[in-house]
Every structure is written in structure tokens, then in C-alpha cells.
Symmetry: C2
Subunit: 344 residues, 2 copies
Amino acid sequence: MAGVEQEQTRSEKPSEPWVIGVDLGGTKIAVGAVNRQGQVLARTVLPTPVSDGPQSVLAAIAEGMRQIAAGQSTPPAAVGLASPGPMDNKTGVAVAAANVGWYDFPVSGPLQSRFGWPIYLENDANAAALGEWAFGAGRGVENLIYVTISTGIGMGAVLHGRLYQGSHFTAGEAGHMVLVPDGPLCTCGERGCWEALASGTAITREAREAVARHPESLLAALAGGDPLRVSVAQVGEAVRRGDPVAQEVWERAVHYLEIGFTNLANLFDPDLFVVGGGVTNLSDLFLGRVEGYINAHANPGMRGRLKMVRAGLGSDSGVLGAAAVAWQGLPSESWVEQARQEAV
Amino acid sequence: MAGVEQEQTRSEKPSEPWVIGVDLGGTKIAVGAVNRQGQVLARTVLPTPVSDGPQSVLAAIAEGMRQIAAGQSTPPAAVGLASPGPMDNKTGVAVAAANVGWYDFPVSGPLQSRFGWPIYLENDANAAALGEWAFGAGRGVENLIYVTISTGIGMGAVLHGRLYQGSHFTAGEAGHMVLVPDGPLCTCGERGCWEALASGTAITREAREAVARHPESLLAALAGGDPLRVSVAQVGEAVRRGDPVAQEVWERAVHYLEIGFTNLANLFDPDLFVVGGGVTNLSDLFLGRVEGYINAHANPGMRGRLKMVRAGLGSDSGVLGAAAVAWQGLPSESWVEQARQEAV
């Protein structure tokens, strides 16, 4: 992986405050320097050394932070670190980040000792929600629900202009909202969870079964006749080309998206739903329909007033979400006010 | 209905600030004088003159306010008014209070013109949530979810120590969270909503069918052999006396309570669930079980840490909830701080 990339968009005022955003994933660690406007001033990516143990992952993060800071003329105002799993942002401990082997693992303390900068931890879906609220598709709205649909379904909520984490840092487990008691088994051990019905994994599972049952279908042809090779992208392509086998799989998943989002509307009544994750590569095949459904089926008081958009931050979303966590952690209301004033 | 009752618990300091709480229902209007500690200093109850039209309902509220204020030595600091349906607490308009015929009906303006006191409107389930947070079973916790189970299922959320209303004043429609797509028809026109599966109305519906199928059952005997006379209380009594027909009805409803509350736990991860409404007369038959279930089935990060208690405010809950809305509306953080400091 490459070294630090300095952006052309580097701020003119070298002394303007900036933060580090760290997006920790199971295969790579993306680290960026981000200003208050959400511009990425510099970025670097390192492999996640999972097999070398939890301390090595922490060391790789520190190395990324060092590289990024070395390229700036001032130290960062703060660091935000986003990771899957519940993060205790009061004590700076990763409660359970299974993909990097962190369990009750102190993160902020060691990094703070080394660098002396304030560190704020956050769950990755929560950070993405805050990033979209601060810099992306939902800038400055009062209440935003972010939902990511990829292998699983995750959620983050910005309510009253503030990230809502819950009392044990595990709010927003929308993927495990049960929609069909006794439905398909979920990775969590329960049955009929939303992500067992409408995630990329669920779509792939149903598509495999459909391909096995219908070897004559276009979907089967796209997968080379091998049910195990079928992908969400192939389902989308077959749907566009009118394959009824793919359409049945797709329609079922979209209907569960409709029901799940209607439930979230009824519970949260937000200004805006922002939808991210890999399945949004097919957003033209579902986003407008789901928006139409919730506006016809949620509580009458909100019908016709609910909006749903695709996430706006693209490939930098992880780093920008983590950076938003850093900015929100700082004792400065001005940033929040700025996002609100810039609200669309 | 009787006139104003002055309480023995009347405050010693006659000049201490107090508010009026108005609990507007379809059959009666309860109005009380309430101090910061949640003591009801005086109360009165008037019939709701629904058949005389929306303006008459407003006039009855004004009369109740006048009676209560006449008994105090100082004017109230504010008035809180709780009603079913979405209330726009920014404009003071009842968006839709179907049981009293208010649709886009201005409430705060006329009352303020007459009395000159600040008026704050709120949905009744939201007000009950705030009342329990301020004065009842959930005093001062950071995140509280209140659920009322009676003819329907309603919800109110206090998040980050503040009532969460949603962007269109319709958050917390937990009763219309769909748990069984294509399940029983709900009053809202959708199918398989939580309240179509686990409310008092749902329990009664299932009990009627069970009584019709099993005229030999104890439940049928308790209902005098008439399916139309069966009640939730009779189901409870038959369950306690070991009637398998009643037990089957009850077990099904409790299971949907388990699933619904687990969904709310996964979404909100609160410190505390507070459960009110008529069905809690049978709370010994379900509250502990549901608490056990959510602590075994919600996200691992919150398991064993979720608490569920019965609402604590009893028959004054409506007036106290409305009074809490009035206190929260006033520009004084001291009240919030007090509730937090008194947190158990």
C-alpha cells in the first residue's frame, strides 16, 4: 500500500485546525487529515495486521497517525477512530471489535499516551451517520437515520443534532430488528432479523437457491451456472434484463426493505434517511420505491414528508465519519452550529 | 364530576413555582396544579364535551385551568397539555386528535390569549414518558423508553435526558412496528403491527375466538359463555387458574411482547424500559419474563444490562406527564439537573 497522499485541496491557511480520522476495517486501515469543512487534506492506507494480534493492529493505527501528522504543519486538534462493534467512547475501550480481535481492549489510552492528542472512539455505522450529517447528504438536519446495507445491515442515528449511541453503546442494531418470527436464521443466532431478509448476504442466499432451482434462468447464466458464484451485482443485472427468477428474489428483498424502513420511520420520524453500503450500487432499483412505500404506509402524520437519499461521501466516507466524531468530540459548539447553518 | 380538590400535601411555601398539567382524554379532562417535585397540589376533572364540537372541548379545558388557578396564590409558571395524536409543539396546533375532533386545530394560541401563560402541547405517550422520567419510575436516567399497552400500544422516548418527538411530532409509533408481514389486520390499515398482536385489543380478539372454539373452557365460563364478553382481566384470571385455552392466547401475546421489546432494545439500547397502560394490571404475568427475554436475545453488548419496570405514577400519570411537559418547556435547566441528581 502507498504512502501518504497529499491532496491538491490542501487548505491555504496552514494553521487552520484539522483532525485525524481513522477508519479501522478488517483488511485495511484508512487514515486521513480532515478540516472543519470535511476536506480530506491527506490520506494513507495500511493493511490491518490482524494475524499479528491486537497490539499490532494498534501499532499500525499509530503508524498511520504518525505519517499523516508528519505531513501537516500543526498537530491535529483531535483524532476520531471508527470501528465495527460497540466502542465505549467514555472510557476509550473497544468493547468488541471481532474483526480485529479487540475485546475490552483499551485504545484511546495508549494512543493518547504516545501522541498527547484527544482520541474519540465510535462504532463505524454511528460514525458514518455523523459523517453524512456533518459533511454529506444530510448536512445539519435535526434528525437523520443512516442505514448501511451490505453484507449486514447497520444503522446510526443523529437525533436533535447529536449522535445517539444508547446506554451501552449498542443502539442502532436495526439489522437485528425481527420482522419475521421463525424466519431465516441470522448470523446472530436469532431468526427473521432484517439483515437475514434484506442484506446483500440474504439476497445472495436467496439467489443461490433460485439459481439451483432454475438452471435455465438468465441469473444462472450470469453466474456461469454455479449457484455459489452468484452475486448481488448479477441479481441486479438480471433484474434489469427482465429475468423473472432474479426479479422474484429482488422483489422479496425490496419488500423487506420497505417494511424495515417503515418501522424505522414509525419509531424515529426523521427528517431524512441516508442509505449507504454496497447494495446501494443498485440504488436506482430500490431507493425511490422504498421512499414511496414509507410515505404511503408510515403513520399518517409523516406521510408524504419522509425523504430518502443515497449516502454522499463515497470512498472517503469512513475517514470522514471518523473525522466527524473527532470534531463532535471537541468542546466547540461552533462546528455543530456551522453544520446547521449550512443545512439544505 | 366534582370540583377542585385541594391536596393535604400543599406546599408550605405558597410562592413556590407551580404549573398546570392538562390530561385531555376522549371522556374526561383531568387538570392539576403540580410543583417541581411532582406533587399534585390540586386537581379537578371535567367531562369532555366531544359531541358539542372542538371549540367546546377547548372551553372545557379553559374552565378546568381557571378553577385550578383560582385555588393558588400565584399564577402558574406554565401549562402543559397532553392529548392523543401528534401535537405540533412549535406552533401550538393539534395536528390530529381524533378522539376530540381536533384536526389542525390551534390550541395554545387561544388559551395563551385568554390567560397569558406559556402553553406547551405534547402527545400523551410522550408526556407519560417525560412524566416517568421526571417524577416516576425512571427519574433522571439518560435514556428511557416508555411503552403503554392498553387498547393500542404507544411509546415515548427520553433520549439524552430530553423528550424525542421526531421531525413531524410522530416518533414512537411502536404500536405500528410490523412484526408479522401479512399478520392480523391493524386499525391503521396495515397488517401484523405490534398492537395488532400484543395489545389488549389483540388479546381480546384472540380470546373471543378461543372462547368460541372452546365453550367448555374456564375462560368461556368466566365470560358467561359469551365470546363478546371476554376481557383481558378474565384471560389473566383463567391463566392464573391454569386454563390451557387462556394460556395459549396469553403465551402468544407475551411472545410478541418479547419480540417487540427486543426490537426496541436493539434500536434504542436504553437504560430503562418503563411499561404502563391497562395490560400492566397483569404485569406479574409478563414483565419479568419479557425482561428476561430481551436480556437473552438483544445485542450481546446490552445483554444482562437492560431493565424493565412498571410505570410508577398511577392514576395521576396523565396530569403529571403534562406537568412535566410544562416544566421541560420552561427555559430553566435547573429542573433537568435536579431530576438527574435525584436519579436512583
